[in-house]
């Protein structure tokens, strides 16, 4: 008996590795018609891991003080070995994280995978989407550039539109009447501790729900495209005769991750400034408002919506109502059909909503 075999047996007796592998890898069967959109979750986990690693590396040199933050980021970009690469990966990664969470949610919605019994998966995913936006918003201020300073001023100002408590909330967020050193302290704490820990917990919940209920079946290439869940009692959604997660689907995940990484690296190395403007590299100056301050691309639709209404509160309320409706969609849309072509109302709303979002974003960019 070789020493490796003995070591394996030692662990096998104590952990039941064979059973674990069979249950979660080789014996974990997925629908035969599964497609590449199901690997979005793995890509997002990969992005989050990369964000954590680059974020920790940035923490080594970043100084979260209003008078030193900009200088420390400049030093990271220009004098620290591979500092530019680490920062660019973090900045571009944050944008990619939002993009791929959106794609994951859109594909889930399109394939009806949010329907019963996966309401909790959808809801936890929706909370994750909000947290990802929050972590991006708080991270935006940290370089203490003109762009980050004024974008945060505009973003925190919006909260002031809430009646009665609006002004209190603005000052609570900023730590004062204006964006300043206390705001940086607050956003820094939220960015590196509170939000990441909450995200870790919600990701854990999301994976736990997936593990308990099983992977959904895509409605494409099947005769029966109706929801198979009978309701009433808990039942794991298994897929007898399906393809094993290991090695088959894990190789699909690896293909998708490698493809994603190629796109990500292309942006980092060839278009590193795609998410920056001139004001991103000018130190924050509270006395000089830049001429055209626009939010990041993922907030452009919200920004434009606010401008469409005469009252900011109405704009915020409509956005809040739309987000709540989306979050609670599987509780509202309780039909059994999953194939989009057999759901004309859903398909119209899906395409219309997508066009509206893109149009508002483009309008916001050029307005």
């Amino acid at each position: 008996m070789t020493s490796m075999k003995r070591l394996y047996d030692w662990f096998e007796v104590r952990l039941g590795i064979k059973e674990l592998v069979e249950k979660n890898l080789t014996g974990y069967l997925l629908p035969r018609n599964i497609n590449c959109w199901y690997s979005m979750g793995s890509i997002i986990l990969f992005i989050i891991a990369l964000q954590v690693v680059t974020g920790i590396l940035l923490l080594v040199y970043y100084i979260p003080e209003a008078d030193k933050a900009f200088g420390s980021v400049t030093a990271i970009m220009n004098t620290m070995p591979f500092g530019w690469l680490i920062r660019m990966c973090h900045v571009i990664g944050s944008n990619m994280m939002i993009l791929f969470v959106m794609l994951h949610m859109l594909s889930t919605l399109f394939m009806g995978s949010n329907k019963s019994p996966r309401e909790l998966n959808w809801l936890s995913g929706f909370i994750l989407f909000t947290l990802v936006q929050a972590i991006c918003l708080t991270g935006y201020l940290l370089p203490w550039s003109q762009l980050s300073f004024w974008a945060t001023t505009v973003a925190t100002n919006s909260v002031g539109a809430i009646p009665y408590i609006g002004q209190f909330l603005v000052e609570f967020l900023r730590g004062g009447k204006l964006v300043g050193a206390p705001t940086l302290g607050r956003f820094y704490t939220l960015h590196i501790t509170v939000i990441p820990l909450t995200m870790a917990a919600v990701v854990g919940m999301h994976l736990f729900f997936l593990e308990r209920i099983g992977v959904s079946t895509p409605p494409f290439g099947l005769d029966n495209t109706k929801n198979r869940w009978p309701g009433g009692v808990f039942r794991y959604d298994d897929h007898p005769g399906g393809i094993p997660f290991f090695p088959n689907y894990i190789l699909q995940d690896m293909t998708s991750i490698a493809l994603y990484f190629a796109i990500f690296a292309a942006v980092v190395f060839f278009y590193p400034n795609i998410f920056f403007t001139k004001d991103s590299f000018v130190q924050a100056n509270p006395f000089q408002t830049p001429a055209h301050i626009k939010p990041e691309w993922y907030f452009l639709a919200n920004y434009q919506t606010l401008k469409l209404f005469p009252n900011e509160f109405i704009g915020l309320s409509i956005q809040g109502a739309a987000m709540t409706f989306l979050a609670l969609l599987p509780f509202v849309d309780r039909g059994n059909e999953k194939l989009p072509l057999k759901r004309p109302l859903f398909l119209t709303c899906f395409i219309g909503g997508l066009i509206l979002y893109i149009a508002l974003s483009i309008w916001g960019h050029y307005s």
Binding site: P247, N248, L259, A262, A265, V268, F269, S280
Partner: protein
């Protein structure tokens, strides 16, 4: 009050609101009393305002009172000497008048042959830069039309040619630095270096000693070439990053292909 008379109230209100909104859009210097009064007058009294509107001073927010003093907010005392009103200076006082702001330029001018001829038929600031339509200080001011009013253009042409290359270098280096800055490169040292060289170069603008201008321009060009060298190194570094990018993207695509083929094998 009849109904017709009442109807005029909203019109008057709308006009007042429109005027208030329009006033809010007018630049601050346009709202001073000097411009409101002189701007409306025809001929000699209104001409300075018309000329000033096309000047570098107007573009940079420098208004009448910044040079002529007085009280720009009080129509009655706008031209009161007790409020610091100076009016138009005499010819020999012009360099001192402009030199209150352009301190370095005044020093350069007074040292030059132009400055030494002040009061003896020599040119003052307004001879080349104009008085109200103040022209930006560029090499283009040195031209045959301007110079040949007092002397031949030949010498000025030699000076201009010697300075042209330097001017071009300064502009192109400035643009390159600006480009790198907008990409996150720390350009503080480069900007300071260019600022210092540009200042040295500008002192030559009022010098009419051909040999000195040539010599100084050569020295300034050498310093500019040093700055260019630093910029070239940054460009090279960026090129290297792109080469590394090609390798990383290539490896990632290759990995994707291998994983895909492996998956197909298992399928």
């Amino acid at each position: 009050m009849t109904r017709d008379r009442l109807a005029i109230i909203p019109i008057l209100l709308a006009t007042a609101i429109f005027n208030l909104c329009a006033a809010a859009d007018i630049p601050v210097q346009e709202q001073i009393v000097c411009i409101r009064c002189h701007g409306a007058q025809p001929g000699r009294l209104g001409e300075p305002v018309m000329l000033w509107r096309g000047s570098i001073h107007a573009a940079n927010g420098v208004a009448c009172n910044d040079c002529h003093g007085g009280d720009p907010k009080d129509l009655v005392n706008a031209m009161n000497p007790d409020r610091g009103f100076l009016g138009a200076p005499k010819e020999t006082a012009i360099p001192g008048f402009c030199g209150r702001c352009h301190v370095g330029v005044l020093k350069d001018y007074l040292r030059s042959a132009h400055g030494m001829a002040l009061g003896k038929g020599g040119p003052t600031c307004v001879t080349c830069h104009s008085n109200h339509l103040v022209v930006k200080a560029t090499l283009e001011i040195i031209n045959e039309k301007n110079c040949s009013r007092c002397h031949s253009f030949e010498r000025a042409r030699t000076i201009k040619d010697a300075m042209r290359q330097t001017e071009g270098l300064i502009v192109s280096i400035g643009k390159e630095i600006e480009g790198f800055k907008s990409e996150g490169v720390d350009t503080e040292k480069l900007e300071k270096g260019l600022f210092s060289v540009r200042n040295r170069f500008h002192t030559l603008f009022h010098d009419v000693d051909v040999e000195k201008v040539k010599q100084e321009s050569t020295q300034i060009n050498a310093d500019l070439n040093k700055l260019s060298g630093v910029l070239c190194k940054i460009t090279e570094q960026h090129e290297k990053r792109k080469l590394a990018g090609i390798v990383v993207v290539g490896v990632a695509l290759l990995a994707a292909l291998i994983f895909y083929l492996l998956r197909k094998t298992y399928d």
